[in-house]
């Protein structure tokens, strides 16, 4: 049996937990929460830049997920589904907190996917601060694409923008990071 098959069995186990949670088993849902909370909170925190707002968004994400769980298709990835909910919740909370949002029109972004490598190594704290200082749209696209590994199309869909806009935001994020960190981002 290959590693992929071994992973399939683990995914099957997650599907069984989802099924049990669908049947009203909160213990099963708590195990799903424990498994995914870190990544969901990380996403909410990076999108909102506020610890309390991120905590609210994380809680809201899991409550919404509990409500919608019977509609979740176990063939798809639970983490992607949770991240989608987290992005929606975070965008809504952020809009509420500051309704004026800088927008970026569709424009031609960079061709191909960036590796997001830094010419010189940078401290995690410093780079997190630089990401946090990016404008909302650029930061959202960067977090989903560079940190969570979603494609341009997936990130754009999650954010409710055109793929071209997402690419343009990434281009902008790269430029701003280069300026703030004073290193080449390629």
């Amino acid at each position: 049996m290959t590693q992929a098959q071994a992973e399939d069995t683990q995914i099957d186990w997650e599907a069984a937990l989802v099924q049990r949670a669908c049947s009203g088993d909160t213990r099963a849902f708590e195990r799903l929460y424990r498994e995914h909370a870190g990544r969901v909170y990380g996403l909410c925190l990076r999108m909102t830049r506020d610890v309390h707002l991120a905590e609210d968004c994380t809680q809201e994400t899991f409550i919404n997920a509990w409500r919608a769980l019977p509609r979740f298709q176990t063939r798809s990835s639970l983490s992607t589904w949770l991240h989608r909910i987290a992005v929606n919740v975070s965008l809504a909370k952020r809009r509420k907190a500051s309704p004026v949002e800088a927008s970026l029109e569709d424009e031609e972004g960079p061709r191909g996917a960036l590796e997001w490598t830094l010419e010189t190594p940078v401290e995690v704290q410093e780079i997190e601060a630089a990401i946090g200082a990016l404008p909302d749209g650029a930061r959202d696209a960067l977090v989903l694409h560079a940190l969570y590994g979603y494609s341009h199309g997936e990130a754009a869909q999650m954010l409710g923008v055109a793929e071209g806009t997402c690419k343009a935001q990434l281009h902008r994020a790269r430029k701003l990071l280069r300026e703030r960190l004073n290193v080449e981002v390629s």
Partner: protein
């Protein structure tokens, strides 16, 4: 985002090296659970599928059949083990059955040691199978396929009836049987013997 990554002086040379996960400073689950319970009290039909008490204790015959398959596999494995050397070489992978839990606790499979051992055994399985004589290999593969089917059936049934203690016990037994088969294949390969 101050305070979220405070004190992390590690250097990275790519954004991909940043961990997407950040643990919240406090446990958010109690409030989530309270909200869920509150909603269940006020709108008990909110979840699409609540536990169905009418069928709670009815264990369909096919689960018992699955259990019988697993039991027969276990007996076959036990017979096979009796043919193997007593002193097992290569202590690199500990037998997870030595102190396997006996309680009705499905969290068994989330035990990091179990997961680690199982992954290691799975990774070496193909090579070990190739070293076995064809009849023994066929027997092991049939056993693993039966166990896999039993696991899936039991998990699906538990999804419909989460509180069923018998199903939980059968599931734990199935995981333990799988580990026994994997462990025996591992050591049989080492000893150059059949099962």
């Amino acid at each position: 985002m101050s305070g979220t990554r405070g004190g992390d002086e590690r250097k990275v040379s790519s954004l991909r090296e940043l961990s997407p996960a950040i643990e919240p400073a406090r446990d958010l689950w109690p409030q989530i659970e309270a909200r869920i319970n509150e909603e269940r009290r006020t709108a008990p039909g909110a979840m699409a599928a609540q536990p169905r008490p009418g069928r709670a204790r009815a264990v369909p015959l096919r689960w018992l059949a699955a259990a019988a398959v697993v039991a027969s596999v276990a007996v076959g494995v036990w017979i096979g083990r009796s043919l193997l050397p007593v002193a097992r070489p290569g202590a690199g992978v500990e037998s997870p059955t030595a102190d396997a839990p006996t309680a009705l606790d499905v969290t068994y499979v989330s035990d990091p040691r179990y997961q680690r051992d199982r992954t290691a055994l799975m990774q070496s399985l193909q090579a070990r199978l190739a070293a076995l004589p064809p009849p023994a290999r066929a027997k092991v593969m049939a056993s693993l396929a039966a166990i896999q089917r039993a696991k899936q059936d039991l998990e699906n049934e538990l999804g419909k009836d989460p509180g069923n203690a018998l199903l939980q016990e059968l599931l734990v037994n199935t995981y333990q049987d799988e580990m026994r088969v994997l462990t025996d294949v591992h050591y049989a390969g080492d000893a150059g013997r059949g099962i």
